[in-house]
Symmetry: C2
Subunit: 193 residues, 2 copies
DNA sequence: TTGACATGAGAATGGTCGTTCTCCTATAGT
DNA sequence: ACTATAGGAGAACGACCATTCTCATGTCAA
């Protein structure tokens, strides 16, 4: 009953999103054509357009998918370090520092996408803003769990430091700004005891 | 002896850089064509290409020019607030906050440009990194002048907070992250007395 | 087998943009 | 006044890209 195909739509979608993630992050949205996605994923243009009717919608799907994937990676990375006895709010910086040291690091995909003007519309911007709100909510929950005074205030301060660290590490190609950010976070946490 | 022209090359260059600044910042580099620069500046394509042999070189000239202009604006804005009795390192955040509240704010032009992949090459990246190094050196000098312990460390922490504030303010369209950054800076400064 | 249809490969279309070229005007030096 | 030349307006060229279309293939249901 289902249409004949080498791979079904779900598999094709997964392959497309995986390629989109690799290639959009590495080369920017405007730097990647639909043909590049096809070449990387092996999904034909025809199928690509049947799954995602336009590049805009593919980008929106990628951003949404990346939000989920990235948050899962980030929270589990923080969790793992916390289990090992590290202060969770500081573990956040170590997770980012490890990422920033890995090859291909180009900063926060959401910040980079927001900086692109040609291919990004308001739908995308909403996804991006929601990602940052979500990250902030997580940091605030960590601050709350830590029992610090004014957890919302502390969480926001940590959030600014994290974003600043990610951006500067990308621009300067060094994870030293993340170390400085962690250093600052430690002072702020100490002051919130 | 000089060739006949409505305006001379220096004036044309100034007009082009002014237009480039307005339009590259507002719409991104990839979002602006050479024809847009011509339309905004009134300098013909022919002359444009005689002044800047390619878009890449125009972009490099814009970034260089913007570095100078922005640093002048920033330092004088900090100076003015310092004269009025404010702590210079905190005044930096107020300057940025005022900017972020102004219409057309889109974050740091250098960070945005670095996020663009299609039109930005290594020459541009070097200018961008040099800008951030320069900003950092200024912040460190303020920390030194303030007589704080470990001024380099403090300056770096303030730098990360500033960049984080600029980025988040752009993404979330709110200057609240800058307020949080300033708040954090005050704690760090206090701890560096 | 046969017909209906989904799919892939890749050509075609339409638009954008960096860069160059053509044609024309106006000026400066003679 | 005359000519060489700089400059403007805008067309032309070539490349790239999102999107659609054509044609050929293969599969499923009867």
């Amino acid at each position: 009953m289902s249409p004949a195909a080498t791979i079904d739509n779900d598999e094709a979608r997964a392959a497309v999103l995986q390629s989109a993630n690799a290639v959009f992050y590495a080369r920017g949205i405007a730097g990647v054509g639909m043909a590049d996605i096809r070449d990387d994923s092996g999904v034909s243009l025809r199928r690509l357009y049947s799954l995602y009717p336009s590049k805009r919608e593919l980008v929106a799907a990628w951003l949404t998918d990346r939000h989920t994937t990235w948050m899962e990676w980030f929270t589990s990375s923080v969790d793992r370090r916390s289990m090992a006895g590290e202060e969770p709010l500081l573990a956040a910086f170590d997770a980012i520092a490890e990422w920033a040291e890995s090859p291909g690091y180009r900063g926060c995909a959401f910040v980079n996408s927001a900086a692109e003007t040609v291919e990004i519309d308001d739908t995308h911007r909403r996804i991006i803003a929601a990602h940052k709100e979500s990250l902030l909510a997580y940091l605030i929950s960590l601050a709350r769990d830590g029992g610090y005074a004014e957890p919302e205030r502390l969480g926001r301060m940590i959030g600014v430091l994290l974003d600043g660290g990610m951006v500067e590490a990308a621009v300067l190609r060094s994870c030293e700004p993340i170390v400085a950010a962690r250093d600052a976070a430690a002072v702020l946490i100490e002051a919130s005891q």
